[in-house]
């Protein structure tokens, strides 16, 4: 075995934009995979964490019980957990629903919206036990588990991701640069 750092990544209530931004490090990916081994991640399609990991890369906040379970699992198996992007940090766009009671949100989505009035003639709001249960609001990750680092952006700039992850993996110092420190 090599001494590569093990990294696991997940998208909770996110849009996969942060993962796309990770891919946007372009040719540096080749250097990155010399330094790390991906475990559970949408990039490897490994569905469960199979070993203890050094780094957990969290995209998205927690909008349902499955997100919470996954986040807790990541916290349990990752030495360092990083909230990546606005959704993981403060809920982001999904958290716009936080100002509206859940009942009203569901009624608007499944009963009252012009696109569902006709198609949902039985007036069903999905509640099957197999479907993850939606939470009362979207929670930032650090309100659910302890988070070690926060990387802002929507998505965080590829250069920011690269510079931070490279520094973390190699133990080199890191400082946020103004040009890549953005909230949008």
């Amino acid at each position: 075995m090599t001494d590569k750092k093990i990294i696991a990544t997940i998208s909770l209530a996110g849009c996969f934009g942060c993962h796309m931004s990770l891919l946007d490090i372009d040719e540096r990916l080749l250097e990155f995979i010399e330094l790390v081994e991906f475990n559970r991640s949408p990039l490897t399609d490994i569905k469960k964490i199979t070993r203890e990991c050094d780094i957990g890369f969290i995209e998205g906040g927690c909008c349902n019980d499955e997100n919470v379970e996954n986040l807790i699992e990541f916290r349990k198996h990752c030495k360092v957990l990083i909230s990546v992007g606005e959704c993981a940090i403060m809920g982001g766009i999904p958290a716009i629903r936080n100002t509206i009671p859940l009942k009203e949100c569901l009624e608007e989505a499944y009963l009252n919206a012009s696109t569902t009035i006709k198609s949902n003639d039985k007036k069903i709001i999905p509640g099957d036990p197999d479907i993850p249960k939606i939470l009362d609001r979207v929670y930032p990750c650090h309100e659910v588990v302890k988070i070690d680092y926060f990387l802002p952006g929507c998505p965080p700039r590829a250069d920011l991701l690269w510079e931070f992850l490279y520094a973390l993996v190699t133990g080199k110092p890191f400082e946020f640069k103004y040009q890549t420190f953005k909230f949008d």
């Binding site: 606005e86 940090i89 809920g91 766009i93 100002t99 650090h142 309100e143 929507c154 909230f183 949008d184």
Partner: protein
């Protein structure tokens, strides 16, 4: 015309006319004191506390303090910078600041201060209050989710009859900016634009205007707020 006085900011000798607003006097001496509720040309308010400085061992707001002979001002100290960062974090938690979907992102002063202080996450719980959006006005839109209650619009925007077109409504934590129906009737595009520009955040927007400057070329994309001093 007042007489000139000598005073000190972080040990640097400065000169300004007696009675000048400390924020302005610092600016004249190429020293940046961060502000949010203050706006050049309108009466200061001292509402946001971001410009807090220590003058002669006492904490005051620099926007409401006037310079006088030999005052000793502490501005760029670790304690004050930490305090200012906390104020920014508190404001970000108190409202609903979804920067990725905001028309003002890149030119927002609250966001620019958060960049300046490298606020990655607020140390306070995000409150997600329910706030209304008002779109009845033909030229202006008000998104109270983003309002930081600085009153810059109330103090700075007047119609042709010198009447404020914005006013506070409700009280306490429910306080919000209202657009005066009569006073704002028939306002010019220029005044609508000025209303949008005077708002430090994206709470007042000019309708059919926004996202017209590409990412990378917006006011605070490349240079931190206050770096032009």
């Amino acid at each position: 015309m007042g007489t000139f006085v000598k005073f000190y900011i972080d040990g640097k000798e400065c000169i300004a006319r007696h009675g000048t607003q400390l924020v302005k006097a610092a600016c004249e001496n190429n020293i940046y004191i961060p502000t949010l509720c203050n706006y050049p040309g309108i009466p200061p308010k001292g509402a946001c506390r971001i410009c807090a400085v220590i003058v002669n061992d006492k904490a005051v707001t620099a926007c409401t303090t006037k310079v006088s002979e030999s005052i000793v001002v502490h501005n760029n100290t670790p304690e004050l910078e930490k305090f200012r960062k906390s104020v920014v974090e508190m404001l970000l938690s108190e409202g609903n600041h979804f920067c990725p979907s905001c028309e003002k992102s890149g030119t927002c002063e609250l966001q620019a201060l958060a960049y300046r202080y490298r606020v990655t996450v607020s140390g306070f719980p995000y409150m997600f209050p329910f706030r209304e959006i008002e779109a009845w006005h033909p030229k202006l839109m008000k998104d109270h989710n983003r309002c930081i209650q600085c009153k810059r619009c109330i103090r700075g925007i007047k119609n042709d009859q010198r009447k404020s077109i914005f006013a506070f409504g409700k009280r306490g934590t429910h306080v919000e900016i209202n657009i005066d129906h009569d006073a704002s009737e028939g306002i010019s595009d220029e005044l609508a634009q000025r209303s949008m520009d005077i708002c430090p955040v994206g709470a007042i927007l000019r309708k059919r205007k926004g996202f017209d400057v590409p990412i990378g070329r917006r006011k605070y994309d490349n240079k931190p707020i206050g770096s032009d001093l």
